[in-house]
């Protein structure tokens, strides 16, 4: 952010001085920033940000090697030995009682260590782990399987999150928009092509005054056909009145005016989650339910962290990096997908709401 701000400042400053080279430089910076905020650029920006974050966190937290339990383990073993050798009378009951107490202490130590981040497989703060960590921060998933231990790491996390989350939101809105458009286009082309003639008949938007009756009539007409076409055609009619300066009125039939039914959006989301579940169950050796659960928890940004990617796979070292990449790809794509679905669903709900209001008004008018 700061970098951009300074660059912008510089750009404007130089432009004010009206020198050719300055102009050129300003143009160049302007183009560069414009590119950064374009659709391709934003992806690069997010990825670059995550990589930079990985480097930073790896630098800060990397040398924090975990305290091993070896010391305590040895201590306990010595204690046990001492007790065993000291107590001459071997009463099983007594001995077991004492040992149980010692083990309880040891157990407490283990629990404490585990809560401080000790894992069966010590895998944290590898470079890939740091990458995943920075991704979970800016997406606000926050698994918590690895979290910063040092104070500096925490400060860096806070700053990183403040700058990163708006960036990721930007990414989501951009990519979600693109996906929604393309999906709508596909939907309009593939699924609605058989009824293409029907919407075209209603293409000239009805004048403002008799909007409600027109919408109502159309609603009744299309209702006969039923199914998914109904909503889309309604939107065809209804979108005409609220904005007459419609943006994409390039042709007679505009795929962007189509609303995708909610069921389809839900199906897509469920399909994505289940597909992810299948993949992760293959990759990580979880059950199918667990994997789907993991996908849902991740994509809804709840992020419990009870299941964390590349938990199992890490033992076989070769694929681990690939697994991280795959996982982050899945997350980034999936969140954009969900943003898209929310986008489409919202339009759909609004369209439905409008038709509802319109029908209500119509009823009232009739009664009067």
């Amino acid at each position: 952010m700061e970098r951009q701000a300074s660059r912008r400042w510089r750009g404007s400053y130089r432009r004010r001085r009206k020198k050719p080279w300055a102009e050129r430089l300003a143009d160049w910076t302007r183009n560069f920033i414009a590119f950064l905020f374009s659709n391709v650029g934003i992806v690069c920006l997010v990825v670059g940000y995550a990589v930079a974050g990985a480097a930073i966190f790896y630098y800060i937290e990397g040398e924090m090697c975990q305290k091993t339990l070896n010391v305590t383990r040895n201590e306990i073993a010595d204690k046990l030995w001492n007790y065993t050798s000291r107590v001459n009378i071997f009463s099983e009951q007594q001995w077991k009682l004492q040992v149980d107490i010692m083990l309880k202490e040891y157990q407490k130590d283990v629990v404490k260590e585990a809560k401080n981040g000790y894992k069966v497989k010590s895998m944290e703060w590898t470079y890939a782990g740091a990458f995943l960590y920075s991704l979970t921060v800016i997406t606000t998933i926050g698994y918590g399987n690895i979290s910063p231990r040092t104070a500096w790491g925490k400060v860096a996390t806070i700053i990183y999150a403040i700058a990163g989350m708006p960036l990721f939101l930007l990414y989501l809105s951009n990519i979600g928009d693109i996906l929604a458009r393309s999906f709508k286009w596909t939907y309009a082309r593939c699924c609605l092509c058989r009824c293409r003639r029907k919407p075209r008949r209603f293409e000239p938007p009805p004048p403002r005054t008799n909007v409600a009756p027109a919408g109502r009539d159309q609603w009744q007409m299309v209702k006969i056909h039923g199914g998914e076409l109904e909503t889309s055609s309604i939107e065809q009619g209804s979108s005409g009145d609220d904005d007459e300066g419609d943006e994409e009125s390039e042709g007679s039939y505009d795929p962007q005016n189509v609303t995708v039914p909610i069921t389809l959006c839900l199906t897509i989301m469920a399909g994505y989650v289940c597909g992810g579940g299948m993949l992760f169950s293959m990759w990580e050796g979880w059950g199918f339910l667990e994997s789907s659960y993991f996908c849902f928890i991740s994509l809804s940004t709840i992020g419990f962290g009870d299941y964390v990617p590349s938990d199992e796979i890490y033992s076989s070292k070769g694929i681990s990096e690939f697994s991280f990449l795959f996982c982050s790809l899945y997350l980034m794509l999936g969140m954009a997908m969900i943003a898209m679905c929310f986008n489409l669903m919202q339009e759909e709900v609004i369209a439905k709401w409008r038709t509802l209001i319109r029908t209500l008004r119509h009823i009232f008018r009739c009664d009067r």
Partner: protein, 582 residues
């Protein structure tokens, strides 16, 4: 949800039959469901339900896991005993090595239990995690998408229930938070303006000055906008919605976001009249009919308010901010700057207007200084009204070019509207308490009204509304300060409740309020039972506070970023919306 709709219904219901009454009752019912109180109680009930359900689902499993732990330990003890019995000679080295091996497997088993089965490290006789308060906390954690993960469902059924619970609960929570955020934002705005106008006079002036500068730049910024404005309204709306799709900015719901976008665009419409107005308005076929009427109405109100102002002015004159000067004079310049590039043919008219305006202002100044003993500020301020008074002459002088005068009159009416709406808050600032109430009530009403999903609102509505909204923002630093102090206050509270270090507590608050929720720090309820309840209260309030400050800050931030991008020329036509989340 939509008071205006309701009003309409109410009007219509007076002359209605039984069926309509039933429909009206249904409508009322839905309106009631979506009102704030019902929404909040709905969320609370949902949380309670979730608490009960998860407790019933998960508690038996947890007891089982804990019993398995003690079983594990007895096994290890048995193994050790057997080992001790089996080795005939008690050699320390051998024995410890064996014991260490045993301990290692024990440790691994423990960790496995913790990771896989969610054992929290406590004994069977200790209190369960999935008590009712724990499960309640869990359900709050789920639907706010914080997700600490300190407790997570371990049974398959619990997982499935969690998924469906989240699907239903997250949107509900978002709706609730956004409505709370809206209420808080409007009340905060009200409080801020009340306090600022009432108590202190100096800080408001500084703030006003800053805000004024922010607004005054706008005509220049948007002067090269074209008819694609409408388009950008739609596009930005959509992208805003998709930005909403996830994460905590979802927190303020689609409604608030959208209507803020409307405010913004409305403000654009209000400010960039010279170039946009003609092209946009030319779509209406009834310009010649409508514009004089509008003008007449405006004019009379303008004079009326002038009278009031004259009455008030002498006492308050020394407090007048200087920025009225800019307001009064800049738009003329902007008209000159923006116009020639876009609409070259209309330039003469425009110049003409300017001349007449200047002329009129000169005469006006003369009479103004003559009639009343005004000081500099007042004279400057009166130039607002000079513009209004100067409207009639050009039209009278050039009645021959009908289309161009139409355009002109459109511009003029826009300008008048501007002058008026700029004038309004200035007046509010001067007489403190009654007018603040006025502003706030207006703002509130307008705000509410925007919830109505009305699709045939005209530009005037937006323009006035936008100007109103723009002129009474709460400064960004105040919101930021509020959030930061909330975080630090939470840090202080948690450091006493949970005996964490202060920095750790603040870190915990940040991670919680951003809904990242690592779960490396989780409130354990060390300071008694009430702690967890207080914690959930803290985080619910905090998230709605965040939603509120987003609400308050959003438009200003978007404006600033847009203007930055604009000054660099990044935004040309439709990239405008891409920066707005930044």
């Amino acid at each position: 949800m939509s008071s205006r709709m309701e009003m309409q219904m109410m009007n219509e219901v007076q002359e209605s039959s039984k069926c309509v009454k039933v429909l009206y009752m249904i409508w009322k019912f839905f309106a009631c469901v979506f009102s704030h109180v019902t929404l909040i109680s709905l969320v609370v009930a949902y949380c309670l339900l979730g608490g009960l359900a998860f407790q019933a689902l998960e508690a038996p499993n947890e007891i089982k896991v804990r019993e398995s732990i003690s079983l594990l330990r007895t096994n290890v003890t048995g193994e050790l005993w057997k080992m001790t019995l089996e080795c005939n000679v008690l050699d320390q080295e051998n024995w410890t090595r064996e014991a260490r091996g045993q301990l290692e497997t024990f440790e691994k088993d423990l960790l496995q239990k913790m990771e896989r089965e969610g054992w929290d490290g406590s004994e069977p006789e200790a209190e369960l995690q999935w008590t009712f308060p724990g499960a309640l906390f869990y359900s709050i954690i789920v639907i706010t998408t914080i997700g600490y993960g300190h407790i997570a469902p371990r049974t398959a059924f619990g997982k499935v229930v969690t998924i469906f619970y989240a699907i239903l609960g997250i949107p509900l929570m978002l709706l609730c938070l956004s409505s709370i955020g809206d209420v808080m934002a409007s009340s905060f705005r009200f409080l801020y303006w009340k306090i600022c106008c009432y108590v202190c006079t100096k800080p408001p002036r500084r703030r006003r000055g800053r805000n004024a500068r922010g607004t005054i730049r706008q005509p220049g910024r948007y002067s090269n906008r074209t008819a694609s404005l409408r388009r950008s309204v739609r596009v930005s709306q959509r992208s805003a919605d998709s930005a909403l799709g996830l994460s905590e900015s979802v927190g303020r719901s689609s409604y608030s976001d959208m209507d803020y976008r409307y405010h913004l665009e409305g403000m654009d419409l209000a400010t960039d009249f010279p170039s946009t107005r003609p092209s946009t308005m030319s779509r209406y076929s009834d310009i010649p009919v409508s514009s004089p009427k509008v003008k007449g109405g405006r004019l009379t109100t303008g004079t009326a308010s002038l009278d009031r102002k004259v009455a008030v002015d002498p006492t308050e004159a020394n407090r007048m901010p200087v920025y009225f000067n800019k307001y009064a004079l800049d738009p003329e310049d902007e008209t000159q700057n923006g116009q020639p590039s876009k609409v070259g043919s209309r330039k003469p008219d425009n110049l003409n207007v300017r001349d007449t305006v200047d002329e009129a202002s000169r005469t006006n100044r003369a009479c103004g200084t003559g009639s009343l003993p005004r000081n500099h500020h007042l004279a400057v301020e009166s130039s607002n009204f000079r513009r209004q008074f100067s409207q009639p002459p050009p039209e009278i002088r050039e009645p021959q070019a009908s289309i161009s005068t139409d355009v002109d009159s459109m511009k003029r009416s826009m300008r008048m509207r501007r002058a008026q709406s700029y004038y309004g808050p200035g007046r509010h600032q001067r007489h403190a308490s009654p007018s603040t109430r006025y502003v706030s009530s207006i703002g509130y009403a307008v705000h509410r009204q925007n919830y109505v999903d009305d699709f045939d609102v005209d530009y005037d509505y937006y323009a006035d509304d936008g100007a109103l909204q723009v002129l009474k923002p709460v400064p960004i630093w105040l919101c930021v300060f509020l959030v930061v102090s909330y975080i630090f206050g939470g840090g202080f509270l948690f450091s006493t409740w949970e005996q964490w270090a202060f920095f750790d507590s603040a870190y915990f608050c940040f991670i919680t309020l951003t809904t990242i929720g690592f779960g490396d720090f989780v409130p354990q309820g060390l300071a008694g039972k009430g702690s967890i309840a207080l914690c959930s209260l803290y985080l619910l309030f905090g998230i709605s506070l965040l939603a509120m400050s987003f609400n308050l800050v959003q438009e200003e931030v978007i404006n600033n970023v847009k203007s930055l991008a604009k000054s660099l020329g990044i935004i040309k036509d439709e990239e405008g919306e891409e920066d707005e989340d930044d």
